[in-house]
């Protein structure tokens, strides 16, 4: 084989490889495109603002996006945190019931607190689209119902946005900001365990955001049954 023939053979081989690569790329692109619209349902993941909803479709109005200043931290996150006062113990050393701690004012409920008003059925109104700090049951961009997994992801992202999320540790804040539940090391088992979140549909939950729990199995022998 002469040098010229060798060069021609090499050029043809390279051309064949290039054509094959182009074909693979051409075949793959439609597949990737098929999944892109799903990603666009989460505008914050693309660094975009949620598209303004159509009031004629949802009854939405500007007032639902107005969050009281006292509920917004300096970094723009929505907060609601009580100023708890000292509680006096009674003679038995038991804190008086009903005055101690208001769980409605703490981070796991804050997404419900600023809600979005109420619709005709007494449930919190839902805007179109969702950004961190907003109601977890907000409808997704195309107006359809958010799936359980979407609500779960939104919930953890919301918790990660509170300044009190630091109690879970920096590693867990990073996990929650990706929509994953926090983890802890259980020293009794030596294993890591995740916080659990049972999510119901919007109607089943009566619009109440889900409440997380650690996988503890304990009994309060003095609880009122």
């Amino acid at each position: 084989m002469t040098t010229t023939e060798l060069l021609v053979f090499f050029a043809v081989a390279m051309l064949a490889i290039a054509v094959l690569a182009i074909a693979v790329d051409w075949v793959a692109k439609p597949i990737r495109r098929r999944f892109i619209p799903k990603m666009y349902r989460f505008p914050e993941e693309l660094g975009r603002q949620a598209p303004p909803p159509d009031p004629s479709l949802t009854g939405w109005s500007d007032q639902y996006f107005v969050i009281p200043d006292e509920l917004v931290s300096t970094n723009g996150h929505v907060l609601d945190w009580p100023n708890l006062e000292a509680i006096e113990l009674d003679d038995d050393g038991v804190e008086p019931p009903g005055v101690a701690y208001d769980s409605d004012d703490v981070p796991f409920d804050y997404v419900h607190e600023h809600g979005d008003g109420e619709d005709g059925g007494g449930l919190p109104h839902r805007a179109l689209g969702w950004q961190r700090g907003q109601y977890v049951y907000n409808l997704i961009g195309n107006g359809s119902e958010p799936s359980v997994e979407i609500v779960r992801t939104r919930f953890w992202k919301n918790v990660s946005s509170t300044e009190h999320a630091g109690v879970f540790g920096a590693h867990n804040v990073a996990r929650m900001s990706r929509g994953r539940p926090p983890k802890r090391r259980n020293p009794r088992t030596g294993r890591d365990e995740s916080m659990q979140l049972v999510v119901e549909g919007y109607l089943e939950a009566q619009g109440r955001p889900p409440r997380p729990r650690w996988p503890d199995d304990e009994v309060d022998p003095f609880a009122v049954t």
Binding site: L84, E85, A86, I87, L89, D92, G93, V94, E95, P97, A100, Y101, S103, D104, V106, P107, F108, D109, H164, G166, V167, F168, G169, A170, H171, N172, P182, R184, R185, N186, P187, R188, R211, P212, R213, W214, D216, D217, E218, V219, D220, P221, F222, A223, V224
Partner: protein, 149 residues
């Protein structure tokens, strides 16, 4: 600076040293059937409900007529002095750790949670830090007297 939970995680241990103090995630007591643990709550953080949890490895614990493997003594529901009776087929252990309520949710073993155990005559004092804010071993302080059968 890592919080205590991260220190426990990094050390892969239930015991770490923090500012010269031995801090535990769980305090473990050897017990036998018929033993009694008298739990006396000395101080409690007023910002959040605090809880002391006791879990037996084999058998049951009995408090206030209720028998269970794991008992939670909340500052909001339990009296200051509580008797915990051990029902076990043989010698076993009771794990003791602290928790708290935060955001309406029971928490433990996250943030700056940990406890310091000090032996006293007839038992131990447990100085517990909940996970919220800086380490503070006055969040929950209990004395546990171990009355052996």
């Amino acid at each position: 600076m890592n919080d205590l939970a991260e220190e426990f995680q990094l050390s892969d241990s239930d015991i770490v040293t923090w500012e010269g103090r031995t801090v535990r995630a769980v305090f473990r007591l050897q017990v036998t059937d018929g033993d009694r643990l008298r739990v006396n709550r000395l101080t409690v953080n007023r910002d959040r409900p605090q809880v002391l949890k006791l879990a037996i490895a084999e058998g049951e614990l009995e408090v206030n007529g209720v028998r269970a493997e794991t008992i939670a003594l909340w500052s909001t529901t339990s009296p200051r002095d509580v008797a915990v009776d051990v029902h076990a087929p043989e010698a076993t252990t009771v794990d003791i750790w602290n928790g708290w309520e935060y955001g309406g949710v029971g928490q433990a073993w996250v943030g700056n949670a940990g406890l310091v155990a000090q032996p006293v005559d007839g038992g131990y004092t447990l100085q517990c830090s909940d996970g919220v804010g800086p380490v503070d071993f006055t969040d929950l302080v209990v004395r546990i007297d171990h009355v052996k059968r």
